[in-house]
């Protein structure tokens, strides 16, 4: 056994195409080498992914203020969560944000991708619309914080020219969440559009040619052909962007900090406050676990939709 594992690995590496059936003789393969190559990544994986995942789950059943050891308190955190109106408010606000953000962003992204697809393959255009995605959330938040300022912000100046009264984008509790959502639409729509654009390019040209021969109008072609064929891509894009947008934090942290009157206290921000300003680590961990569960359900549902769609391109 030991002798054979030390034999030159050349033969073993022919990717299973060789006639010899995989047997005991070659079962260990490159295990030793693999362990060396995997060592650093595994260390990071275990210490900063696996272990904290388990520990986070444990902490959610404890009372823990960082100062003394965590004290097991069963389901107390979860019972408290059910009665915590701030928690429910945070969930509602987050869902409101996600719905506005994803809704507007997806529609705009599809529109932008269609326009680009029909007009220009220019890499410059694509690069420009991607630009907002590459600067930090914090930068984006501050620029818009300035542009949307109630008194001297350029957006309210523009509204003034149109005869519209200035809007307190961040100060009005009705506007705060749509404003934060809009800022992130600006940051992400180019990125999403490029994902959709990549999807559009995968649709074979003959499909369109056939539609044209049949005399289908552009509008009909879009609804009956392009959109259904884009579905797998769209579902994937939705999974990625929805998971991302549930975790909105940066924009809120530098603009409204949860205000006005809790209007933008999204779940991520509420967890952060609980953990790092009140040192209520056990409770924060419990809320994080609930967020985890929500995201898992959302992605499972969406992936199920994706699987149902696989037949479309066939």
């Amino acid at each position: 056994m030991t002798a054979t594992t030390n034999a030159p690995p050349t033969r073993k590496r022919s990717h299973g195409e060789s006639a010899a059936p995989p047997g005991k003789r070659r079962s260990l393969g490159d295990l030793k080498v693999a362990m060396i190559f995997l060592a650093p990544a595994t260390l990071g994986f275990v210490v900063f992914y696996i272990w904290p995942t388990l520990r986070g789950a444990y902490l959610s059943f404890t009372e823990y203020s960082l100062l003394s050891a965590p004290k097991f308190n069963g389901l107390a955190n979860y019972e408290r969560m059910v009665q915590d109106s701030f928690f429910w408010n945070a969930l509602v606000v987050t869902v409101e944000y996600v719905v506005i953000n994803i809704g507007v962003q997806t529609v705009l992204a599809v529109a932008i991708a269609m326009v680009m697809y029909r007009l220009t393959k220019s890499i410059t255009v694509r690069a420009i619309i991607l630009a907002p995605y590459l600067v930090a959330n914090v930068v984006v938040a501050l620029v818009w914080y300035w542009m949307l300022d109630f008194q001297v912000g350029i957006v309210n100046q523009g509204l003034g020219w149109l005869g519209i009264d200035p809007v307190a984008f961040f100060g009005d509790s009705h506007w705060a969440i749509p404003t934060v959502a809009g800022i992130n639409v600006w940051r992400h729509m180019g990125y999403t559009a490029l994902l959709v654009f990549a999807g559009l390019q995968m649709i074979p040209a003959y499909v369109y040619e056939a539609a044209e021969v049949d005399g289908s109008t552009e509008w009909k072609t879009f609804w009956r052909i392009t959109l259904p064929l884009l579905r797998p891509v769209l579902v994937m894009v939705l999974v990625v962007t929805m998971i991302g947008s549930f975790q909105i934090f940066d924009t809120v942290a530098v603009t409204t900090q949860g205000g006005p009157i809790n209007a933008t206290r999204v779940i991520y921000y509420y967890i952060y406050e609980r953990a790092f300003t009140r040192f209520d680590f056990g409770y924060a961990s419990a809320m994080a676990l609930v967020l985890f569960a929500i995201l898992a359900i959302v992605s499972l549902v969406q992936l199920r939709l994706l699987r149902a769609k696989e037949s479309d391109l066939a």
């Binding site: 490159d30 690069a127 619309i129 990125y191 549930f246």
Partner: protein, 292 residues
Amino acid sequence: MRRMSVGRTVCWVLLFVLLIVTLFPFYWMLRTAFSDNTQLPGHPSSLLPVESTLGAFKRVLGLATIEEAQAQGGSGAAVNFWLYLRNSLVVATVTTVCQVFFSAMAAYAFARLRWPGRDKVFALFLAALMVPPIFTTLPNFVLIKNLGLLNSFAGIILPGAFMTPFAIFFLRQFFLGINRELEEAAMIDGAGHRRIFFGLIIPMSAAPIATLAILTYINSWNDYFWPLLVGQQENVRVLTVALGVFRSQTPQGGPDWAGLMAATLIAALPMIILFLAFAKRITNSIGFSGIK
């Protein structure tokens, strides 16, 4: 080729509007950064910088005295973006180099080596993509705190230094596509795995590795949440965190908008330059990163 129709003209107009909407905030940041803050409120919609001056940049880079800064509408609080710039450079560079290198090693083990349980272990690594960062962040904070690494570069860098599931996945895809015959020829010549990895796989994957490095650098540079938690102190504070602090220091009545935009520009400029240099590579990688 389609003829020029009304529809196409409308589309061109829409595309043009889109480009303006995308670029205008960047311009407005530039225009404000070069303005005199005390004059800004009087000319809120001037398209050019108001009384153009470098005052805001001097203030932010710690080159103006406190009196000068206050006279120009600054807070007078000590800020020094040179320091934060350096900190961001250290964090992003070390994170990128380590993460990409170790992830490449892991990707090699997953793509080019054959060992029992390989696919199961890989699936486990990928599954970690599902865990939302906040969930691991809380225990990671406790760990870094217990290790005594709060407010140290090590504390900021360590969690991202070894791997991310995405980086391994990304590189594995490219490594899988490399022709096996080259590798076998090298082995017959007596090359070991180390030489194949460094001499063959890495050079042949220079392009995807560079793309990944650029994306990692941008992500690391832009990260806010983790450095906010573990890197509050001045000596390790990165630009994004410094921006948040600067924003909260700026006077409430008449905020130092020019200073804020100058600071924002300084924080964004390296990414804008990186982007101008590698726009094509970054843009072309987008289709890959989203649709797996």
